[in-house]
Symmetry: C2
Subunit: 717 residues, 2 copies
């Protein structure tokens, strides 16, 4: 351990200038990164982080504004600060280096190597304990607040020789969070890839701007969404991707958000500060010691691949809590879905049954198609009663999750599917009424068990119920995890849409195989995505966990699916194929209609072929907002897959195939944009397929059209 000398700048919300020679520091295992902690002049907790000589976060204050329950409950809660007046009561250090095997993932083994420093703090006067646990990795750092359960005698012992506890202070046992005040003082006016902070939706297009410009761009950024509530002050969502003027890449997010509100980042000049999601009462957290915050993560890298390769989010989550994980598996699926998303058919049986997509005949056709092409499951949305009157209505008790529409043969279709070796995937539209869903959860899951469904897609469309609550509050976050835990008891895998953005909880609960929590493929129909959208998501949304992005749109002219939908996709067909590799998920949909695949079975071959669980992943091109190339090795066999995706610009890439096993030749099958292909044009669906024998020594030259991409498979020759 060594001590760092830090320079503090004087500004609003920033510490007074002083060389904090007495900082506590914690270096990364490789010794190249340093987290420093100190107390300011007024006892403010301050941290800073330096990555390989480059400042990630300048000295920044930590703490909370809270309301603490008085000793006598009849006296209510008193506003208090957990921002200053602290003394250091002890420091504990630990090292870890262990390798664990995820149930599914981008690789089969993950190494968790870090140094830890726990700084025990006691506030003078109140005697309140607030500890800070830091973990420093070779690729970043994480820290969280911990509030141990203590009594005043324990605390007095921690700081001997000082009367640290005043008699009239209640213990810090039960408190509400008015606001978390975690600062991220950046060393420059960083470029940011951001979406606006919103308590109800994450389905935004990204803006790329200087941090200092966010405030003025904030209100102009929103996309139309039924359920949207921008924060009062300019702020952004995490995971936030930043690029500093010196080229350093930094990602700010959180890990293991459990029983806590989701964090947004308030913009303050070129700094950020935590902004938690309130519940209906306006409180941002109800805390009862012992308790702790999620980890606040700082992933840093010299190049984009460093960010994508980081496993800090997963490593800061608890190990798997499910003993027998044998029933958890990757899922490739098709669905009765795109036909409604495009507007061609309806979710509801009423008023026009002929427009109802989830009818037995149509589902049989999907089952047949899935069976023929080797898909695991068929998602069927709109199968149960309730869709006829719920969207945007904020109704409490819409769905019972067990009653099918009259044209959906629930029992027969499951039987038929299983006979064909396919499962149906359950769909639960909760109508965002968490209470109604929880009331029916046991019966709904029991039905799934009885009929042999093993995966549920659960939606949270619309404003949350209880009314006044928000999608990412402590209350709501508790609900999402409750459903995942209850599902685990019944060996059910969960894919949550419109729920909170993930924070790596899939390590602990690997039955959480999917989350939406960002603007997905559905927006190709709902107003469009930006062409660079999928070159940004892996650096932002996917830092928390996989996304059920639902790629695979082959009919790039949506008017051919729904006549009045005059819209074209923001990618080419080959670009869609590339997403199966670049957008990692153990759950992958082929989102288009069977007939659109049947017209292009040669290209469809890639979707059938590509695995969704991996032994190893290589990030070959990783330019946020521009281009991505990722190569991955199939779990348990010597096959590699490559995805190359570009933004709105055509792009060439020369990919060295060094990842292939040396001395072995592979057949590369290359699915590329046709020379004249371009997104949002009538050429978007043009592609060429080429086979070639390659070896590890080769360099593969690829060309992606505007909005396009390339997908390749490599199999031993």
């Amino acid at each position: 351990m060594h001590r760092a000398s830090l320079i503090l700048s004087f500004a609003a919300g920033v510490l007074c200038a002083a060389a904090l020679a007495d900082s506590l520091t914690c270096a990364s295992p490789d010794g190249k990164n340093t987290l420093a902690f100190t107390l300011g002049e007024n006892g403010e907790p301050v941290y800073s982080f330096v990555y390989r000589g480059k400042t990630v976060v300048e000295p920044s204050t930590l703490g909370f504004d809270v309301k603490v329950l008085a000793k006598d409950a009849f006296d209510g809660r008193r506003p208090a600060s957990l921002r200053d007046g602290f003394a250091i009561a002890g420091v504990e250090r630990a090292s870890a280096d262990e390798t664990w095997r995820p149930v599914w993932g981008e690789e089969s083994e993950i190494r968790d190597r870090h140094e830890e420093m726990l700084v025990k703090l006691v506030q003078r006067g109140t005697g309140w304990r607030m500890d800070l646990r830091f973990r420093v990795f070779d690729d970043g750092a994480g820290f969280r607040y911990e509030f141990p359960k203590t009594d005043s005698k324990d605390v007095a012992r921690l700081v001997p020789g000082e009367n640290i506890v005043q008699d009239d202070a209640p213990p810090l046992a039960h408190f509400t969070i008015v606001e978390e005040r975690t600062r991220f003082n950046l060393p420059c006016d960083a470029m940011a890839w951001w979406i606006p902070a919103d308590y109800e939706t994450q389905e935004y297009r990204y803006t790329n701007s200087r941090t200092s410009e966010i405030a003025k761009l904030f209100r102009g950024a929103p996309d139309a969404n039924l359920s949207s509530q921008l924060t009062d002050v300019p702020a952004v969502q995490t995971a936030l991707m930043l690029k500093y003027d010196n080229g350093l890449l930094v990602n700010i997010h959180e890990a293991a958000c459990v029983d806590y509100a989701t964090m947004h980042l308030k913009v303050d000049g070129m700094a950020f500060e935590s902004l938690l999601t309130p519940d209906a009462s306006g409180a941002k957290g109800w805390m009862h010691t012992p308790c702790r915050s999620p980890w606040r993560t700082l992933i840093a890298g010299e190049k984009g691949a460093d960010i994508l390769a980081s496993r800090i989010t997963l490593n800061l989550n608890e190990p798997c809590a499910i003993e027998d994980t044998s029933w958890i598996h990757p899922v490739k699926y098709i669905g009765v879905w795109w036909t409604m998303i495009t507007g061609a058919k309806n979710w509801a049986y009423m008023p026009d049954p002929s427009m109802h997509a989830a009818n037995t005949t149509n589902v049989v056709r999907h089952i047949d198609f899935a069976a023929e092409h080797g898909f695991d499951e068929v998602l069927v949305e709109g199968w149960d009663t309730g869709f006829e009157d719920w969207f945007g209505k904020e109704k409490d008790a819409v769905f019972d999750f067990v009653t099918p529409y009259p044209d959906f043969d629930l029992e027969g279709l499951n039987k038929y599917a299983h006979e064909k070796g396919v499962k149906l995937m359950m769909y639960h539209e909760t109508s965002a009424s968490t209470r109604n869903y929880e009331r029916h959860l046991d019966e709904a899951y029991a039905l799934m068990n009885r009929l042999g469904y093993d995966t549920v897609k659960a939606g949270y469309v619309g404003n949350m119920l209880p009314h006044g609550d928000h999608h990412y509050s402590q209350w709501s976050n508790n609900h999402y995890l409750y459903c995942v835990k209850e599902a685990a008891k019944r060996k059910i895998m969960v894919n949550q849409h419109e729920a909170v953005r993930p924070t790596g909880l899939c390590r602990t609960w690997p039955n959480l195989i999917g989350n939406e929590a960002a603007r997905g493929t559905e927006y190709e129909s709902f107003g469009g995505n930006n062409a660079d959208h999928t070159t940004i998501l892996p650096f932002t949304r996917l830092v928390g966990g996989p996304m059920d992005y639902t790629p695979g749109i082959f009919e790039t002219d949506l008017s051919k699916v729904c006549a009045w939908k005059k819209q074209r996709t923001s990618t080419t067909l080959a670009g869609q194929l590339a997403l199966y590799v670049t957008m990692y998920s153990p759950l992958q949909m082929a989102a288009d209609l069977p007939e659109n695949y049947e017209k292009r079975l040669d290209a469809f071959e890639f979707i059938k072929d590509v695995p969704c669980d991996w032994e190893e992943s290589r990030y070959l091109v990783a330019e946020i907002g521009d281009a991505l190339a990722v190569a991955r090795k199939a779990k348990g066999r010597d096959e590699w897959y490559l995805g190359f995706k570009t933004d709105e610009n055509a792009r060439d890439a020369a990919i060295p195939l060094g990842f292939l096993a040396p001395g072995r030749s592979y057949e590369a099958k290359i699915y590329a944009d046709a020379p004249d292909a371009a997104y949002r044009t009538e050429t978007a669906d043009r592609y060429v397929i080429e086979r070639r024998i390659v070896t590890a020594g080769d360099i593969l030259k690829l060309h992606a059209a505007p909005g396009g991409g390339v997908a390749c498979s490599f199999k031993p020759d």
Copy 2:
């Protein structure tokens, strides 16, 4: 039917002066009461009610302020008025005269005889339907709002020859209630027995004042309570008891409050107006047509007995929804309860196990006592983990309702009790976290089924969770009824404390055998009740349904139970006995400690003797705030019981025994205050017991001490 001529006064909130010659009227079956309805000059719905020539309610407006969901959900909700602009689109009339048998009650048969008038209203311009259904009884009236599901074509047909629907109005399909605007314009400045309107508690002492004085007394009225939120404006709770200058008695309450917020009454001079309980979002109701309000009830009478004898609240509820009610039965019980209420022992096992009341030894003693004296059940509070850290803390997940403290032998005690012919009564302290309770409900009820508990007392102490919600909101009210319905599925009877005040739902769900919902006997320890409290409750709180008042305190000096509790009860011992008759409940507790009964087994005999289910009830003295005498015939046998209860004043009564079967002699056993007895003194527990042979022709002279009473049993000689 006849038409009434009404005089309207001109004042704020009151209609302009006009003789509304074209009123629609509905007379009671006996022709003596008249409900009139008309539309004001601006199409305002107006009703009035006259009882036997005396005005109960002067012409008063009806309606709502609402926000209506626009046609396109993205356009949000628009503020709108359902208060004027209406046209009458039709009137439907019906008569009813039927007698039904309650599962339990103050009598074995209840007659529901009324005339009904349904006035169909359409609002000009919007085409919105709001119907008013009136029912007129010989002892009062009720009305409710109904919002049928309609489309614009249906509506247009209702008012032919007029273009009543404008194209741009959304349908009245989904709306929130900003406020219900039901007026009760009284004809005079009535005397009122009231408690202040509060969104969290009903546990107040009553104030008796002129209506016009409520506003200035409102803020001074509250009693200390952990969870209390007075309404912003002066208002009172229902059931509200009023006495007009002409002697008319009027009770305003509601019946069948289902999926709707509880109504308070805002004071406006000498008038009242509905004030609903908001949810955490501030909304007072989330409505989806077809839907309706609870009934607003007006019970009227020339004398107090008319109010007590009215069954309007029950009659306006739906018939029993439980097919097999054989498992529902009255329950007389003792409990491990008073020892904690007085402060002598604790609910929690920690920190001092020797102070934990619900220990196996103590419960065995209670079981033995219950078995010896013929009680059905033994309530045990504080048996499960969680009590050690919850009170006033607003914690979300405190109790699991299945894990006993280490000194409570859950299985063994149930086995022991059943062997002795006694059941344990379950206690679920929900900690007011409705979500946590619902999550555990199935498991908690299953445990009860497995071990043979058939009754649960469920408590809702503290501020409601979800945070920001209120005890009497639509959201909370939905929860209470949900628990009752789920319990019915498992043949479990429910007794809810700190839950919403009842509105006769026990007719539909007779497994709801108890509610607290007012200041009960526990306040004899928590700061005292007024001596007249139980002479008021039957006219107010009990109009909605029975109360688990938990009488039976024999040791009137609480310092003998808990040394530091220097408090005496507000009744004498004999007064406590009288409550078993005057305070009707199918669930009756003997609330004191076994040892306090063992010292006075002769007086205890009455508690053992008195039934809690009745064939017939007679209200012999019914002076609100002064005195009550009630005689009741045991169900299925020729035994009568009499309770006479006075306020702070000593009082004599001469009770004609004409209720006894003629020509038969009975042994009357009279439990009376000793001559020197008086409440809140050391003589409060002095009583005399006398046996006498009586017949129907006798007049029984009774004397009650200050705060005292008399209890009698009459059995065939």
